[in-house]
Homo-oligomer: 149 residues x 2
Amino acid sequence: MSKCGTERKNIDMDSLHTRMRNGGMKVTQQRSQVLKILLAHPEPISADEIFKKFDSKSEGADLVTIYRILKKFEEVLLVTRQEFGDGVARFELALESGHHHHHVICRHCQRVEPLHICDLESHIKTVEGMGYKQVSHRLDFFGVCSRCQ
Amino acid sequence: MSKCGTERKNIDMDSLHTRMRNGGMKVTQQRSQVLKILLAHPEPISADEIFKKFDSKSEGADLVTIYRILKKFEEVLLVTRQEFGDGVARFELALESGHHHHHVICRHCQRVEPLHICDLESHIKTVEGMGYKQVSHRLDFFGVCSRCQ
DNA sequence: CTAAATGCAAATCTTTTGCACAACC
DNA sequence: GGTTGTGCAAAAGATTTGCATTTAG
């Protein structure tokens, strides 16, 4: 947990629970557990993967519940949804508002690395100039990682 | 590496058929028709939408066939697949190799507009610096269009 | 003629919905 | 206690697969 890869987000369960409550959600076993799993997972993770991580523990949660939790989390901006083109949605904890990052996905092993750069101001202005409001964006890179070459 | 083209190249059925043959595919009624529909459609279009456009004409094609055609076209780089977050894959004709464009999607009406700007050279270099080869990217903007505001 | 493509049916996979029961505040 | 969340079953939607039949080259 020192140098390699992602600097772990300075997000703790307490602040997450607070954000949950502020979003008008009850704090339940299952929701806390999903948060814990998301917090511990360095890459975007799918509903089914979360479901399986639940399974390995003693107390489980229904896959349906996980879908519902993730949808709620998305509404409250606790997580963001990613789609990398394989028909499965993946989720990751949303960083502080206004901060976001992008991804580099290996076309071979599907591994995802975060990319903490982004300066698309001019592009965003262009889109706003086209008449759009509340402009957000998605930027992902695909390549073959060093391990897979 | 991949530069974003600004001018759309003329694409005609003949060159598309040639690209099909070069990809080792037979030129069939259904495939030609799918190409025609893609050529006539300004936005990324789903398999089902293509299927329905077939229907309105006299000769139809099975939805399954359309999926298979699109998959084949994707392998041969005749089309590119897009996913905008609603669980449906959409396809559009691939422009000349190395040229591509991006999209602006209205969060309300789901309409898609092409965006012919892109200067991500520095970002691409960064990713290559991380050890990735054959780096490509995807950039889409989301907003609320003027009509929907 | 022969490999490749198509159509039909049915399967698979992801995600959603309805409803009764349980849990949180 | 009353709303909100969960589990189970089942549905819905997108995409894929198996197999017999047709078609392009």
